[in-house]
């Protein structure tokens, strides 16, 4: 019997779910039949707006739980709130919230490194640690709960021409953290995998995209294009579905092949 590529009846938390890759992840889960998707975003107005828009689709329910997840107390409140609403269970966590900062090496601010590592690494760990009891309650040996982290091809490539030193290091850290969490949480029926996207136009990526030249980037990509929302939607849905229940500790590159093409840059 084919296993399905669906997440029917599942509950999910997507941090940074109001826009960009996080939003695509939410859309993928909703299209796959998720029952409820909780989204966090720092800006309450934007979080609410996305909630309203997505709820108009008439798919699963989207619930905005705005807050700055680098504040561990707030993150804890958000996850406790989900626990109360879902009888202490949660099927899927997409630890997506992330930030970047670009500045030349000699004047790169220390605070920028701290800020980026805090959100991109420390808060990913905190999200998984705080949500683990809910995930453990929902997972079974045949259909484990899922954690998806969002790495990046930047985590493999040391290109620093854009001066995103913290971001590059943070994404390499996310990949490694994903592997160690997969070994720790696998026995608790929770799988942990990372997606490592190439360039997907988003508010965060657009600045860099302009700098590096969008046309060039498309031309140098083996697939001759940048990523599109559907690419991420499909990958997230696959990884969260029964079809991927044996995938654990994997870093899945989704970049059209650019990472391996010598002319491509990031």
């Amino acid at each position: 019997m084919p296993l399905n590529f669906e997440v029917k009846g599942k509950t999910a938390l997507v941090t940074g779910g109001s826009r960009g890759l996080g939003l695509y992840a939410v859309q993928g889960l909703l299209k796959g039949g998720a029952k409820t998707v909780y989204i966090t975003a720092r800006k309450a107005s934007q979080c609410k707006e996305t909630e309203d828009e997505l709820n108009k689709l008439g798919l699963g329910k989207v619930v905005a739980l705005p807050g700055d997840i680098t504040n561990r107390d707030r993150l804890k409140e958000i996850i406790e709130e989900i626990g109360r609403r879902e009888n202490g269970k949660l099927d899927i966590v997409i630890a997506n919230a992330g930030a970047t900062w670009g500045a030349p090496f000699d004047e790169h601010p220390d605070e920028a490194i701290q800020k980026v590592l805090h959100l991109n690494v420390r808060s990913v760990f905190a999200t998984v640690q705080l949500a683990a009891p809910l995930l453990e309650k929902a997972g079974t040996p045949t259909d484990p709960s899922r954690v998806i982290t969002v790495g990046s091809v930047a985590g493999f490539l040391p290109h620093s021409e854009s001066g995103t030193f913290g971001y590059l290091a943070s994404k390499a850290a996310v990949h490694h953290l994903t592997k160690s969490l997969s070994a720790t949480l696998g026995p608790r029926n929770i799988t942990v995998n990372a997606i490592a996207p190439g360039f997907f136009p988003s508010k965060m990526a657009n600045g860099l995209l302009e700098k590096l030249g969008k046309e060039d980037m498309m031309k140098n990509n083996p697939r001759q294009r940048l990523g599109e929302p559907e690419d991420i939607e499909g990958l997230i849905l696959f990884l969260c579905s029964p079809a991927a229940s044996y995938i654990n500790g994997a870093i899945i590159v989704i970049d059209g092949g650019a990472r391996n093409a010598s002319k491509a840059k990031f």
Binding site: P144, A183, D231, N248, N260
Partner: protein
């Protein structure tokens, strides 16, 4: 996940992971051409696939040999799943055994890919290779097998850059320990020991590997990637 109207050629398709991929592709609308050395078993396997009205084919061919001209229809998906195991230490391996491992596992994937690239360029199709977690973890008695499997990953990455601009994708599935005839030969005691090193504490099923193949056949932006499907085995050693 529909493969309606697509034609897939699957080497090593009469049993194990290859057969599961053929079965899942057929269940999802595809027509399958499965390839294996033994004519009887490959035809029997082709007949057992669901939706026989699509006229799945069983083709007898040894992948270590060059393909001769053939009457195949345009191929949309090539799956290189044919492989043979290694069961002894390097010092005990005969030269013929080394040749067979490289010729089947590595050269076989190369020759089959080369044969069907012209067809894939027309259909804007994709290639899915099946490697092994043994290619990236050091395990005694797997030396040449590991070399053949990790070779496939390098082959695929280069193909992704070469064929991507022409609309053809190439990706690798890296299975861990999977319930097949190949792992049945492992002594039960050793198998139990191995399971303790897998975070999910079980072997994968051929169906689980097949689902990753189906996903790779349908996602349009994954190219040059290797996807590990091993329960976390390779992260815990």
């Amino acid at each position: 996940m529909s493969l309606t109207g697509k034609i897939a050629l699957i080497t090593g398709g009469s049993r194990g992971i290859g057969y599961s991929i053929a079965r899942l592709f057929a269940e999802n609308g595809g027509k399958c051409i499965i390839v294996s050395r033994n004519l009887d078993s490959v035809q029997k396997a082709a007949r057992s696939l669901p939706f026989p009205e699509r006229k799945h084919l069983g083709v007898s061919h040894n992948v270590s040999q060059p393909w001769t001209d053939d009457p195949f229809e345009p191929i949309d998906i090539v799956v290189n799943a044919a492989g043979i195991p290694q069961n002894s230490l390097l010092m005990r391996l005969k030269t013929e055994e080394i040749d067979a491992l490289i010729d089947t596992n590595l050269k076989g994937s190369i020759l089959t890919t080369k044969k069907f690239v012209p067809s894939l360029l027309k259909t804007k199709g994709c290639i899915v290779h099946v490697s092994s977690v043994l290619g990236s973890i050091g395990s005694p008695g797997s030396s040449v097998y590991a070399a053949s499997k990790v070779g496939i990953e390098g082959f695929s990455r280069s193909l992704a850059a070469e064929l991507g601009p022409k609309g053809v994708r190439s990706n690798v599935i890296v299975p861990g320990l999977v319930e097949t005839d190949m792992t049945k030969t492992i002594a039960p005691k050793i198998l139990e020991q191995m399971k303790t090193k897998i975070p999910l504490a079980r072997l994968g099923t051929p169906e689980e590997i097949a689902h990753t193949a189906l996903f790779l056949a349908t996602n349009n932006y994954i190219n040059g990637a290797s996807i590990r499907v091993d329960g976390g085995m390779s992260t815990s050693l």
